[in-house]
């Protein structure tokens, strides 16, 4: 099938300091990934088009882009699902550096701010694993799936407007530890998220949940964090 592809271009170094679009008509299979189309154009037509990618099957989180106005991973967006008129743009709310490449540092800084690591120095005397029931493990299963692609955070209208807001992805990762029965720092994380840039900035727009390529119930995770703050803690 013939696909009409519009690709966002921005590269001040090469004189393209006003964002614009390049357009292409190319032959594609319905099962082609948008990433395949970008690779084809970069390889055959214009090698200057720049974007990040690695695993090409939705697990490394490199290639979140705005495709027809929605945040998707280019490697999980199939032509048959997005249609034969395709517009590819960088994700919103992070500074664009070149074409689809944005500055990810603010995103990772937010992630790091919520103490994204298990806090528990107690180890069983026999040196073996800490016990955790399947039910306790299930409680935070959903939020362990996060690949830090930033699709959720950069779909959030609050994040676009407020650069103090940690954003959905940081909250998802806070949830992953707050609701882990082994963790001992839930209080500290809840304190961080009770602050100005934290959970109560969320206006439940649900954009994040729709954007998540891992189908994490992001808005629900944020709601659970809010509840934990209001109720003063978590019971495991």
């Amino acid at each position: 099938m013939l696909v009409y592809l519009k690709i966002y271009r921005y590269n001040p170094e090469a004189g393209r300091n006003v964002p614009s679009f390049d357009t292409y008509n190319i032959e594609a299979e319905p099962t082609d990934r948008v990433l395949d189309l970008l690779e084809h154009i970069k390889g055959e037509i214009d090698g200057t088009i720049s974007f990040r990618r690695s695993c090409a099957h939705g697990v490394c989180g490199s290639d979140a882009m705005r495709i027809n106005g929605r945040n998707l991973l280019a490697c999980k967006a199939l032509v048959k699902d997005v249609g034969n008129e395709i517009t590819v743009e960088p994700i919103l709310g992070l500074p664009v550096l070149k074409d689809m490449i944005v500055d990810m540092e603010p995103f990772f800084d937010s992630y790091k701010s919520i103490m994204p690591f298990l806090v528990n120095e107690d180890v069983p005397a026999d040196g073996k694993e800490r016990r955790q029931s399947p039910e306790q493990r299930e409680r935070f299963d959903d939020t362990t799936k996060c690949i830090l692609c930033a699709a959720c955070t950069t779909s959030c209208p609050v994040f676009w407007a407020d650069d103090q807001y940690v954003g959905p992805a940081a909250m998802v990762n806070a949830h992953r530890f707050i609701f882990d029965s082994r963790d001992q720092a839930a209080d500290k994380r809840l304190e961080i998220l009770a602050d100005h840039g934290g959970a109560f900035r969320c206006r439940t727009a649900f954009n994040c949940t729709e954007a998540c390529p891992r189908e994490i119930h992001v808005t629900q995770a944020i709601a659970e964090v809010k509840n934990a703050i209001t109720s003063g803690g978590v019971e495991y």
Binding site: A56, H57, G58, C60, M104, E129, R131, S133, Q136, T144
Partner: protein, 597 residues
């Protein structure tokens, strides 16, 4: 402007091996991690089914059985001292990962859940054993996340999106690396006392692969160009179950949970090739069986693929035929819901890329290039070696897929790659720090970036008109056809010739992007150069081995030849010339015998 940095330990690569090395090296030495990707993008994150350790959480298991299975899986090419060390360390490192926070799936009693995997057996009953410790079907993702989180906790110093292009050496001692900062295009020199390569594999040499775009063999190519050898390159694993045409991995865990392989006649054909463990034979055996079925016209509709079937009714039918039981002795039965919770990502991949629900329809699969058993030769401490006599390269370490210890020999068992990178990443990190603490900085050469600039300038200034993708496609197709699952002398000879031709054409590669910022065009071209170097070295190493062993299957030499070929290949690349040498396999207690599953 080239900036120069100094760190006692410089680690190249931020996957499982690099991060584990970083956690240990940074305990005592000033450590920096350089990665061409953000750490969480590393390919460790794509590993699915589990990490092997004889925890015996659900049924009897022993470290010795894990060792023997690994030796047998390696087709006796693995070094038995290294294998014993890795398998003995396995329980400890799995507990360590749990202590760091890794959210393993759990058994009802709260212990770490374990599943069956190919080639892992109870050595007494010969039946598959529950040894693979898993977190659903995203075990690699959870290892990568957990290690990165612990690096944040321990304030490890990262240089994200710094692509290392050269290893610096002085008088035979490694003393740094050269990297390009992707955001600026500037070169940086990192002066170090210890350099750890943890750069992953090179599956992008082949047409159909489960490997990430980033898996371009940088580490092996860089060391080859610096006159160091690579080991056992002819042994490259084709995973039996890649998604048709895409190569995306479908974990062996699917078969561990009871899924079976079915040909176009509806037969469970693995019964014929591996009567005891059937679908859970080791990967080389299963991939060859699939190829043979296809060659005999038994593909689905006579086409070049077979089915992997995990519909619950099929799983239950064969579990009953096999008499499979749960640890408590009750019959093994599954529901669709249980399978979905065990392998949710597989279900997602099938829905996304195939438009099918694997709980209701079988999955079309074909073998896919997956894992490099070979790589930079090291000893069990992760110290890189410069010859067949085991001479250490002072200051240079390697761990993970880029390294060849060798614990995988001619064929790796599933779950042993995650184990390898944790065990040897840790050891390499410790030794790198020890080395750094007991030595001084070796002075850098006068113009340390010269070799790198030469390579980049040749691409940037070229007007030859060859395109990266055209050369890459020809390489991938040829390697798939002639240095793939089955090999012949003529096929490999023609592949060697082709790789030489493509390396000539590579000299005429020209690119569109001549800027500095995020010049991925330039780096894609540079990476292709790495792939071609490793492809040539692989084809020559393979052509020189007239026997079939593990993943190296010769149609013209169908048998293993222990009398002459029970030895590791060492390969050097000097311009266009490839030189080979061999070194003995370390055998401790397991004498080579016929390999039957």
């Amino acid at each position: 402007m080239t900036q120069t940095h100094q760190h006692e330990v410089v680690i190249v690569g931020a996957g499982g091996a690099g991060l584990m090395a970083a956690l240990y090296a940074s305990r005592s030495a000033d450590t920096a991690v350089l990665s061409k990707l953000y750490p969480t993008r590393s390919h460790t994150g794509a590993a699915q089914g589990g990490i092997g350790a004889a925890l015996a959480n659900l049924e009897p298991d022993k470290v010795e059985w894990h060792s023997f299975d690994t030796v047998k899986g390696s087709d006796y090419l693995g070094d038995q001292d290294a294998i014993d060390y890795m398998c003995a360390q396995a329980p400890e490192v799995v507990y360590e990962l749990e202590h760091m926070g890794l959210p393993f799936s759990r058994n009802p009693d709260g212990t770490i859940a374990q599943r069956r995997f190919g080639g892992h057996t109870n050595n007494e009953t010969k039946q598959p054993v529950l040894r693979s410790c898993y977190a659903a079907d995203r075990t690699g993702h959870m290892i990568l996340q957990t290690l990165y989180q612990n690096c944040i906790k321990n304030k490890v110093h990262f240089y994200d999106e710094f692509h290392v292009l050269d290893l610096l050496m002085k008088d035979g001692v490694a003393n740094g690396v050269v990297a390009v900062e992707l955001a600026t295009g500037e070169l940086h020199v990192f002066h170090a006392k210890s350099v750890v390569f943890a750069t992953g594999g090179h599956g992008r040499i082949w047409e159909l692969t489960s490997n990430a775009y980033a898996y371009t063999g940088d580490g092996v190519a860089i060391t080859l160009r610096r006159g160091l050898p690579a080991q056992d390159l002819e042994f490259f694993q084709f995973h039996p179950t890649g998604i048709l045409k895409l190569g995306i991995l479908i974990t062996e865990g699917v078969r561990g949970e009871g899924g079976i392989l079915v040909n176009g006649k509806g037969e469970r054909f693995m019964e014929r090739y591996a009567p005891t463990v059937k679908d859970l034979a080791s990967r080389d055996v299963v991939s060859r069986s699939i190829y043979l079925e296809i060659r005999d016209g038994n593909g689905i509709n006579g086409d070049r693929y077979v089915h992997l079937d995990m519909r619950p009714e099929v799983v239950n039918k064969y579990a009953e035929l096999d008499g499979r039981t749960l640890p408590d002795g009750s019959p093994y039965r599954v529901t669709g819901e249980q399978l979905l919770s065990k392998v949710p990502d597989i279900v997602d991949f099938c829905r996304t890329y195939l438009g099918i629900d694997p709980i209701k329809e079988p999955m079309p699969i074909q073998p896919t290039a997956h894992y490099a058993m070979g790589g930079i030769p090291t000893n069990v401490h992760g110290q890189a070696l410069s010859d067949a006599q085991g001479t250490i390269v002072p200051g240079l370490f390697a761990a993970g897929e880029v390294a060849c210890v060798s614990v995988h020999g001619a064929n790796r068992l599933g779950t042993n790659s995650l184990l390898d990178l944790v065990v040897f990443g840790k050891e390499a990190g410790k030794k790198a720090a020890e080395h750094a603490k007991s030595s001084d900085y070796k002075p850098l050469e006068a113009n340390p970036t010269d070799f790198t600039r030469q390579q980049l300038d040749r691409i940037l200034n070229n007007t030859g008109g060859e395109k990266i993708v055209h050369v890459a496609e020809e390489m991938k197709t040829k390697m798939m056809d002639d240095v793939g699952v089955f090999r012949t002398a003529d096929g490999m000879a023609s592949a060697i010739e082709k790789m030489r031709e493509l390396r000539e054409r590579y000299k005429n590669i020209s690119i569109d992007d001549h800027g500095k910022r995020f010049n991925t065009d330039l780096l894609n071209a540079w990476e292709l150069g790495c792939l071609l170097d490793v492809a040539l070295a692989t084809a020559v190493s393979a052509h020189a081995r007239p026997e079939s062993r593990g993943a190296h299957a010769r149609e013209d030499f169908p048998n293993r030849n222990d009398a002459e070929w029970l030895k590791h290949t060492m390969t050097w690349l000097d311009g266009d010339q490839v030189r080979l040498d061999y070194k003995p396999v370390t055998i401790t207690k397991y004498e080579p015998k016929e390999r039957v599953y």
